[in-house]
């Protein structure tokens, strides 16, 4: 009865493949809102993430010894995914995507076009419009969207590399509010479905992966935890747990009990 004996069946899972690129980890993390860069670096390491999102912003001219994110992350070890966070029009998002491509080393972009400042929910029409242009320009588009399967299917038709529906609003930590919609999107699409935003704690990430989706992206859940690195490790394990539980095939639910010990062989 050695651990070896069982390693094999347990670990068998395909890698996450987005735009032809393989990732062993199904967890993608953001790099925003950490109190210190050290906290961010430790959290990313603990999370085991191979892809992290970054934003494109103006250099701060007033600060000497400017510290951009690239001073802290090694692009050879961590794949940088530029986002278009903060954009409210297709035009802006396209502009930021092009700047990100120039700053980075790939065609990848996480497309976000926000439609409402209070909820940060996407403007799906502008997102579809921007996605079309960016796909035509050769970008590998990973598109943030809402839980609407109709929009998700259109994004796939346009040719995005991944569809990224939210679990709940960005930074809310409300978790997976509508598993039905997420399952529906996953069952209807061929491109990877990566749930983006809303995860608040490990069980949120675990139950999200149990829906069969291909990955999860989060930022605030790590950065706003009391101990980011510890939560990051929790998320790494939770994503793996949820993925394996999905692959394992859960037991059926019953509204009555079934004994775990034999009912025969009792004494008299």
């Amino acid at each position: 009865m050695t651990e070896m004996a069982v390693q094999e069946p347990v670990v068998r899972d395909e890698p996450l493949v987005v735009g032809g690129k393989e990732f062993r980890s199904r967890l993608i993390v953001g790099t925003g809102k950490y109190e210190t860069n050290q906290e961010m670096v430790d959290a990313i390491a603990a999370s085991g993430a191979e892809m992290v999102t970054v934003a494109v912003r103006r250099v701060d001219l007033d600060r000497t010894k400017e510290e951009g994110i690239l001073y802290h992350l090694d692009p050879d070890r961590i794949f940088l995914l530029p986002n278009t966070a903060g954009c409210y029009t297709a035009e802006d998002a396209i502009r930021y995507a092009r700047l990100g491509r120039k700053a980075g080393m790939s065609e990848f972009v996480k497309l976000e076009v926000i439609g409402d400042e209070r909820t940060l929910l996407p403007d799906v029409q502008a997102t579809l419009e921007a996605a079309k242009t960016l796909v035509d320009e050769g970008f590998t588009v990973m598109a943030y969207t809402n839980e609407d399967v109709v929009t998700a299917l259109r994004l796939q038709d346009i040719g995005v590399a991944a569809v990224m529906p939210l679990a709940s609003p960005i930074g809310s930590g409300l978790g997976l509010v509508n598993p039905y919609y997420i399952r529906e999107i996953k069952s209807r699409l061929e491109v990877p479905v990566i749930v983006d935003a809303g995860v608040g704690t490990a069980s949120d990430a675990c139950v999200t992966m149990e829906q069969g989706v291909d990955g999860v992206l989060m930022n605030t859940a790590l950065a706003a935890a009391e101990k980011p690195a510890v939560m990051a490790r929790a998320m790494k394990l939770a994503v793996e747990a949820g993925r394996l539980a999905y692959l394992a095939g859960r037991m059926p639910k019953r509204e009555w009990a079934v004994p775990s010990s034999p009912t025969e062989g009792m004494l008299e």
């Binding site: 934003a55 010894k65 400017e66 690239l70 700053a103």
Partner: protein, 73 residues
């Protein structure tokens, strides 16, 4: 509206600055203590290739956006 004598006015990241004339993009970035390898330059709404930093000169009235990657989700 180029500056008098050896100076010109340019708009950098939204603010008007008076700088010496004659700068290439690279020398201008270095004058700001910015690492050319980590900064992307948009000049008059056009993104520059990094290998053009030596050739392209900063002209009076240029609108420059100097951007880089920062932490984001």
């Amino acid at each position: 509206m180029s500056g008098s004598g050896g100076e010109i006015e340019v708009t950098v990241n939204g603010e008007v600055r008076t700088i010496e004339s004659g700068h290439t993009v690279r020398s201008f970035l270095e004058s700001l203590e910015l690492h050319p390898g980590l900064v992307v330059v948009e000049r008059n709404r056009e993104i520059l290739d990094r290998d053009a930093y030596d050739d392209v000169r900063v002209e009076a009235g240029d609108v420059l956006e100097l951007v880089h990657f920062v932490g984001g989700g």
